[in-house]
Symmetry: C2
Subunit: 218 residues, 2 copies
Amino acid sequence: MTPAELAARLRLIVVTDRHAAAPRSVVEVVQAALAAGAPAIQLRDKEASARELLEGGRALLPLAREAGALFFVNDRVDVALALGADGVHVGPADLPVGALRSAVPHDFLIGTSTDDPESAVALEADGADYIGCGTVYPTATKPDAGYVIGLEGLDRVARAVSAPVVGIGGITPERASAVARTAASGIAVVSAVMGAADVSRVVGALLEPWRGRSGSPR
Amino acid sequence: MTPAELAARLRLIVVTDRHAAAPRSVVEVVQAALAAGAPAIQLRDKEASARELLEGGRALLPLAREAGALFFVNDRVDVALALGADGVHVGPADLPVGALRSAVPHDFLIGTSTDDPESAVALEADGADYIGCGTVYPTATKPDAGYVIGLEGLDRVARAVSAPVVGIGGITPERASAVARTAASGIAVVSAVMGAADVSRVVGALLEPWRGRSGSPR
């Protein structure tokens, strides 16, 4: 997959959160998000054991496949490999991209996070396929996610690398248009979709501002 | 490596525990254990992030290599692969052996745990290279490790499979001779070595009863 092809499939990454999804199941919310056109899912559950995460992935991956969406696992590269997922998203406390790149197949996608243009360049050189960048707007989901870089900060990181850059942090349907005017390729959201009363409407609204961009999200 | 060759190298698996090692570092205790002839080390730290575990492994792996000892990582297969460790040890909450076997190189060793002969047979069929079996004696390290199966229980599991079976749980130098009279191939210890005042003496005493067995531990 070229960076441009990947970029088109990263317009919207729906990150799972079972607390935000409750009382609905994560499967139920993901199903609705996929039906509404979400092109990428990231399974994230820091409290789950590897086995629980694998079981969660086994429930979700076929749904993503059927919808033609990409499927990532947060942190646990081993779970992602055992599942046959498309890739992994690793943060600052997870395995370093360089160490990882040599341990996984060539076409296994590695996403990582930074809010700094220079780090983004280094991470791309280490083998990162895409970069999550934030916090774009203040958020309650990850109070420890670092300071707010805003749209300007996101734009700077996106212009520094050729890999797709995805904005994360407090992005809502109302704010998506402004994010789509930066050099970012897409957005990642946790609570905006997981906690949405009307998942289909929110996913549609989050995707809408990107429709002018070239490439098909699926 | 044949099961017999592996068995000879699993006479004693020293499992790390930074709390038990304190105030000494894990590196210091492992170094002493290797110098005294420990043929296998398992890096275990359930509280560490993947990156911390990788850093811990990067400090320990060269010491194990230099000593000719095997090096395993507990639970985190991805960390083990990124390190270039010899294998992983997975428990009931970790990735299932079958899912794992297909995701790792053929010669990457997979150890797992069971106290039941039938499960041991199934795990060996799934691709487990060795089996940790206990709790042999009551222990404070893992109060949730299940009921005490004793030497008879260990012997039953060891006789059920051709893969090496390693007894774990409360094994001390005083008890090692009794364990060596079962069909088990070796023992795994946490606090007996990590918390030992004289690491060298304890490792020597834990290895002593196995000297009659064929094969060289290193």
